[in-house]
Symmetry: C2
Subunit: 597 residues, 2 copies
């Protein structure tokens, strides 16, 4: 059995003259006047190997060499001439003159080129089908490498903070609220089902009741979602829970954790503490609860300004309880008709009737169909508060508060894209704007259901000074929830939990109006556990997939998951899911419905 | 919000005079002449707190104190008098005189005492129902603590060895061979099912094809087994795979890993390298493929001796291809009638017709119903090879080779138990006999199926020098499989895999006789992947639950799993599994069969 003496990224000029054995894949294969040059690749890098066919030991095998074959060579390290030096490769000053060759496995011609740039453009389904080949690309390997590093950094940090890694079950109880669950029929309990845990939430709270004090887990979680662009049926969260802490402790802990991850993975020092923003400010200024603060374009409220406006659309909206907001897409006055139509479509898809705007030409002329309705005072206030200059483009929203925020929040992001395209807004790849968003409302009234729903989940503790509002004005109650936001993406969220059994019961039954028998069935054991000395506790879950995709600067989490599923939940490599045998279904006491239904 | 200044295991004599704040659970509560003494407990230990009810700030709350309530106290550290010192507690030289008390949560009277010794005897179902209370016991917390430490040691070691931690999917393709799988209906692919991965076997081999070279994962695995005494539907393995290695590399790696785990968890240095034993020797000498070598009682083969014996049972067995074996249960001649009956029942349950034996009295008299058939030469050979002395008890087995081994292997273990009970065999708790069992047959002929079945799995590579026997004498082919055995328990197993597509196809189709279409459906993608330059590779999986149960000296793996299921697969705490709603089932296109079937 072979033993390599070096990896393919190890040899340097001072190794010249050494006898070495390398093993790896044939990355490239070139013939220069009868001499064969191979770039031999392993996970660490490339080394050039030279085969002189005059060498008796090589003659026979040499013409079997193919791209992506696995070979082992022994030979001597030699220096390359100055002209032959490859300054792009760490091993570029040397090459290995092969004296023996073993072909461990040959390769058929791969279905697509394994080249970092070209392969990104290959049909993704094809790449998923041959995932084991796609992963051979150095950039894909690097995604896995960084993910492993981020996991290790997380574990090292939390271990130093005296957290215990504890595994909680995946086979959990079905709690059919919230996201859709995967069900697992139980053979030993016919007619009954497990649900694959959507998160370890309930178990980790039980660990706090058990006195564990500090728990963490890189937890596999499962959600049977209609797969949106960037969701996966199974994903991983950095899940943790602590007793005897408050929100400040949690901010400090997570800032330390993320600092460590960024340091270990990218050698980047991220500044802490992170800025904090209330939910209300986030919505008002950025139109979203996960603001991207890497650029400005802040939204301003003009409801006071237009309260008595001659523009009846604005005036009427405000009179009926709505708001008027605007932001200045700085320097975007050259937006094309097509781009404006796109923006308007976005606004309409969010429930706007249209998208009012003012275009300010390079010459300073204001152009807008609605301008004629505005008073000079209104224009002056817009000018001043939005800092309007030549070449700007101002967008308006006028509707209920939350809808107005949402519309302008999305238009703001799309406007930023248009500015980036024009080179007027540039965001460095390595800019990381972390942010805590806090003071969320504890619950929101759901018009469809006709009752309050927990904004995050029903275990979140109210802010203490708001508890007395629970009966009188539930929607004013703020929760002790916190979201961690990075560059406009939510990378985690958590809360201080309710630990008092009476308060938890009140939230379930009196506020959220969950029927008593359902509360008992789904959460009865938690309420019971709280009666035996539950400590004050809180926790958080951070999306590991998302964090790694940001660390590796990849757009999709499937790029940082070794074997992702497609949007239809399929593993194209091995063709899962597949049909079950009749015997399997019989044993589980289930049958498949008529699929024509 | 409170901040504790110290944990409950931190204060010592040199802290006397300090003002401190502690938080924890009321472990014990005693009244000595109006003064209340509380042992305050957190996960680290206990500190005695003294409440003087004269203290105005305490008066009101003090009579609300209950066992297991969560309280926070501030006070001053004082020295205990010599008579009051508790030498069993690290904090036994001090106590804290409370000046303030906050009760964070009260507790109802727990359903069982939270006491390490007594609670072990409480009905296990009750303890599982209140798992969050059972876990409060220091010994149970310690199990979780050691598990966390063992996981960390594993990750640290494998990280140093340049392994990448890579997560593979739980939602896998159904491959209905081997152990029974859990099925998961796919809503997005009606009529199709995922299987919960029984192990990452196929995915990790794909990672090797992908060029990852060194992969590990603490992998959650799922098996829908009829739960035997010590199995769980989900369990965790230390799962790893490497390219470009042979068996020796794997032995060295795993010995290093286990050495590190034992060092980090127990501060015990285990000697390496581990002894190795062939499958054949293990069966011949210990009657089992996972020998407990902490005691001797070795089995010897007497087939040659009895080939022409006057004892027709032995002679006939040998003549028809069977074997005669025996071992000396040293010093067990005082086995009772009842014990002998038990042993005979064991033998019969394994297919023996009876259990022949010779009892050697303390006076040296040999007693046995079969003695009269033995020649003097036969007795002399027994005497010599089994080192028979006064007070011994010799057991015989006579049947086919594998059955004889299995019977005497079990009798050997039961005899050892009887010797332990009598104090004639003592095995220290901290004796760790590691062992590699190697050279397993690659496959075994399955009489029922009428074909060869892979001894471990169909991906195991044959020993190179045996490959030529694949067609002519398959049962003689040894596999490159290795089992890691500790104290008679298999703690892990693995193999060097087949990486040549033609050989893998041959094993599937020609040797194991799996129909071509089934091979294509289940393993087609693996065979295909091997055609694109699969490297030589191998791996192993170690049972983390079992390892931790040995480290913590607990008999069952459920003791080292935070939330285990019962033997019927139920979580008694939260009542999983449970019924699904009709809407859930409709969405999944399945229905539950008539359960009367």
């Amino acid at each position: 059995m072979m033993k390599r003496t070096h990896t393919c990224n190890a040899l340097r000029k001072n190794d010249v003259g050494k006898s070495v054995t390398l093993i790896g894949w044939v990355d490239t294969l070139r013939d220069h006047g009868g001499i064969q040059f191979v770039d031999l690749r392993d996970r660490t890098g490339l080394t050039q190997v030279v085969f002189d066919p005059q060498h008796a030991a090589l003659k026979e095998d040499l013409h079997h060499l193919r791209h992506e074959s696995v070979i082992e060579i022994s030979g001597t390290v030699s220096a390359r001439g100055e002209a032959e030096t490859n300054s792009k490769l760490p091993t570029g000053e040397i090459e290995v003159s092969a004296e023996s060759l073993i072909i461990h496995n040959t390769s058929e011609t791969p279905p697509f080129p394994l080249d970092d740039e070209k392969t990104d453009k290959v049909n993704e389904d094809l790449r998923l089908h041959y995932r084991y080949l796609d992963l051979r690309r150095p950039s894909m390997y690097n995604n896995l490498f960084v993910r492993s590093k981020a996991s290790k950094a997380t574990r090292d940090f939390l271990d130093e903070q005296e957290f215990l890694e504890i595994e909680t079950p995946c086979l959990f109880k079905s709690t059919p609220e919230g996201a859709r669950e995967f069900l697992v029929p139980s053979r030993l309990n016919p007619g009954k089902f497990y649900a694959l845990a959507q998160s370890p939430q309930q178990y980790k709270q039980m660990l706090m009741v058990a006195g564990v004090e500090r728990y963490y887990q890189l937890a596999r979680c499962f959600r049977d979602e209609d797969l949106r662009a960037d969701r996966q049926p199974e994903f991983t969260q950095i899940d943790l829970e602590m007793s005897f802490i408050d929100r400040e402790d949690m901010y400090e802990l997570i800032e330390g954790l993320l600092k460590r991850i960024w340091k270990d993975c990218l050698n980047v020092d991220i500044p802490t503490p992170f800025p904090r923003m209330s939910f209300e400010d986030a919505m008002n200024q950025y139109g979203v609860d996960k603001p991207d603060t890497r650029f400005d374009l802040k939204i301003e409220d003009f409801s006071d300004c237009f309260k008595k406006s001659g523009f009846k659309v604005f005036q009427g909206t405000i009179a009926s309880g709505g708001v008027v907001k605007a932001f200045n897409a700085k320097g975007l006055s050259d937006a094309t008709q097509g781009e404006m139509r796109e923006l308007e479509n976005t606004a309409k898809s969010l429930g706007a009737k249209g998208l009012a705007f003012i275009r300010i030409t390079e010459e300073g002329e204001w152009k807008s169909p609605i301008l004629k309705f505005f008073s000079e005072e209104e224009k002056a206030e817009l000018q001043e508060r939005l800092n309007i200059e030549n070449g700007d483009l101002v967008f308006f929203g006028a509707a209920e508060w939350d809808r107005t925020c949402a519309i302008l929040g999305r238009i703001r992001l799309e406007a930023a894209q248009l500015l980036k395209k024009r080179g007027r807004l540039s965001i460095p790849d390595d800019q990381y704007n972390f942010l805590w968003v806090i003071e969320f409302p504890l619950m929101l009234f759901d018009e469809e259901e006709g009752r309050y729903m927990a904004t995050h989940h029903p275990f979140t503790s109210p802010v203490p000074e708001d508890i007395e509002l629970l009966d009188s004005d539930p929607k004013a109650v703020r929760g002790q929830h916190y979201d961690c936001v990075l560059n406009g993406m939510e990378i985690g969220g958590g809360s201080i939990r309710i630990h008092q059994p009476a308060l938890q019961k009140k939230v379930f039954e009196d506020i959220l109006k969950i029927p008593v028998d359902i509360v008992e069935e789904r959460f009865g054991y938690m309420l019971k556990s709280f009666k035996y000395g539950a400590p004050p506790h809180g926790g958080i879950a951070l999306g590991l997939d998302r964090i790694v995709s940001i660390l590796t600067n990849r757009p999709y989490i499937r790029d940082v998951i070794a074997f992702p599923k497609t949007q239809r939940g399929q593993d194209l490599m091995n063709d899962a899911p597949s049909t079950a045998t009749p015997a399997q279904l019989r044993a589980l006491h289930i049958e498949v419905n008529d699929l024509e239904d």
